[in-house]
């Protein structure tokens, strides 16, 4: 036992990754040119939209925004 209580530990959160809307590989949030497929990772492909990823992405964005607000 030491005298004073230790300060609470502090860590950093994992960076945010999203799926490239073209090739479905993970990229860091804010990435424009996908390092995997070379295309614009923001452009929504049919595969992304029809696979339900767009809806899920929207829900994730809402979750993150709520969490940041609470944080």
């Amino acid at each position: 036992m030491t005298g004073l209580p230790a300060p609470p530990p502090q860590g950093r959160a994992a960076p945010v990754l999203v799926l490239c809307r073209q090739c479905l590989h993970y990229v860091f949030e804010g990435t424009v040119h996908c390092p995997h497929c070379g295309r614009d990772s923001r452009e929504i492909s049919a595969r992304y939209r029809d696979g339900g990823y767009l809806a899920i992405e929207t829900m994730q964005r809402i979750d993150r925004a709520v969490e940041r607000r609470q944080g």
């Binding site: 036992m1 030491t2 209580p5 230790a6 300060p7 609470p8 530990p9 502090q10 860590g11 950093r12 959160a13 994992a14 960076p15 990754l17 799926l19 090739c23 479905l24 590989h25 993970y26 860091f28 390092p35 595969r47 696979g51 990823y53 899920i56 992405e57 829900m59 994730q60 969490e67 940041r68 609470q70 944080g71």
Partner: protein, 408 residues
């Protein structure tokens, strides 16, 4: 010693605040090193109890302290946790402190009555280790009849209404059995199936022929993806352990998009491992010699958790520990070399993990693969590591290079 599994539901899921405040959300606790199996891949070399295992009262004090720190789930493991006479008392104490309790077991000699008592005491789920079909499982677990016993435990869980999951160690020999094994465990009542690669530690170093070669991920990962799809059709969720990854074409299948993505190893930031004698670590499987962070008998857990250097390595998420391929990887900042245990046990230093699908595929595009070779045995101690060399070589002519498209 196996990584416990249940679905990574909301209680276990890490929030932004959990990460920043380093809340030890998840604790894996080796309550005894005594075990009734003799597994050839056991990293902790379990069998006999440790010299000074925590008493019942000491264990309850540990639970109280963990509850104060915000722990939400404790998985009790061994050895074999139910070998302790007070195992039901510990389950009850965990639940009484508002913490979810799960248990990982080999299932050998765990009777239906004992399972019922554990459920009554508050056990939420039971993970049963099954490492292959009967012949392979019994050989790996070192006890004839252990396979039948494990299946019987699954069936007992089903009839008692207790959630049952299966953990499978991926060894070099089990791959071809996985499809049939999945059918067997579904029929026996499993709802979750967690798979993890066998790691080069303890007995697995002695028997290193069972270790998968990194380049074999090109075969394993598509197989797991196929099983994931087929399992979902039959109400079985295949979940990747912490050393299945990372950021390859199938990660979106089992870690995303609705389940998030791999956020790096949680050891020491949001996970705690406890050895039966009170030694604290960031993860139960890490080498005690390098990652032991003091003993809960001598120092409050909050003090160890806040200050001990052996627990700090994941908290600032720096990339300075990364080396080799991982050091220059696109995903370095997010992945940070994946499972600390896997990399550190293999190469004696964390931060460079050849068991990565993204890495294997990237190297394959260059016509290269990696192979591990044992160069030093492990001492006869729990959680002991040997030494392996990483050999880079040209992919043999005629060997197909499988670079898959992401899985939708």
């Amino acid at each position: 010693m196996t990584e416990p599994s249940l679905d990574d539901g909301p209680r276990r899921r890490l929030s932004l605040r959990d990460q920043i405040d380093c809340v030890p959300v998840y604790v894996v606790w080796e309550t005894t090193l005594a075990c009734n199996l003799k597994c050839v891949h056991c990293g902790s070399r379990a069998g006999h109890r440790r010299a000074k295992e925590l008493s019942t009262n000491e264990c309850i004090e540990v639970i109280r302290q963990l509850a104060e720190l915000g722990t939400r789930e404790i998985s009790i493991i061994g050895g074999e946790a139910f070998v302790r006479k007070d195992w039901l008392t510990l389950i009850r104490a965990i639940r009484d402190h508002g913490i979810d309790c799960t248990m990982q077991t080999g299932g050998y000699k765990l009777s239906r009555e004992m399972i019922g008592s554990a459920a009554h005491a508050g056990l939420l789920g039971l993970g049963v280790s099954i490492d292959g079909l009967q012949a392979l499982h019994d050989r790996l677990r070192g006890v004839p009849g252990s396979f039948r016993e494990a299946l019987r435990v699954l069936d007992d869980c089903r009839s008692l209404g207790l959630i049952a999951s299966v953990n499978t160690q991926i060894t070099a020999t089990v791959m071809r059995e996985l499809p049939e094994l999945m059918d067997v465990i579904i029929d026996a009542g499993a709802k979750y199936w967690q798979v993890q690669l066998t790691v080069a530690m303890g007995n697995a170093v002695d028997n290193d022929e069972i270790l998968l070669q990194p380049y074999e991920l090109t075969t394993l990962m598509p197989l797991l993806a196929d099983l994931h799809h087929r399992g979902r059709e039959r109400n079985l969720l295949l979940l990747p352990g912490n050393n299945i990854g990372y950021f390859g074409p199938y990660d979106v299948l089992w870690r995303g998009p609705d389940r998030g993505y791999y956020g790096g190893c949680p050891a020491g930031q949001n996970a705690i491992g406890l050895e039966a004698d009170g030694t604290l670590k960031g993860c139960p499987s890490l080498a005690t010699q390098r990652y032991g962070a003091g003993n809960v008998r001598n120092t409050p857990i909050a003090e160890l958790w806040a200050t001990h250097p052996a627990l700090q390595f994941n908290r600032n998420r720096g990339v300075e520990d990364l080396w080799g391929f991982c050091g220059s990887c696109y995903y370095a900042e997010a992945c940070r070399g994946g499972c600390t245990w896997t990399a550190d046990s293999l190469l004696g230093r964390r931060g460079n993990n050849p068991y990565c699908h993204h890495r294997v595929l990237t190297l394959a595009e260059r016509g290269i693969r990696e192979r591990i070779v044992k160069i030093e045995d492990a001492p006869s101690l729990p959680f002991a590591t040997g030494r392996f060399a990483l050999v880079e070589e040209q992919i043999p002519v005629g060997q197909p290079i499988s670079v898959e498209e992401p899985c939708a």
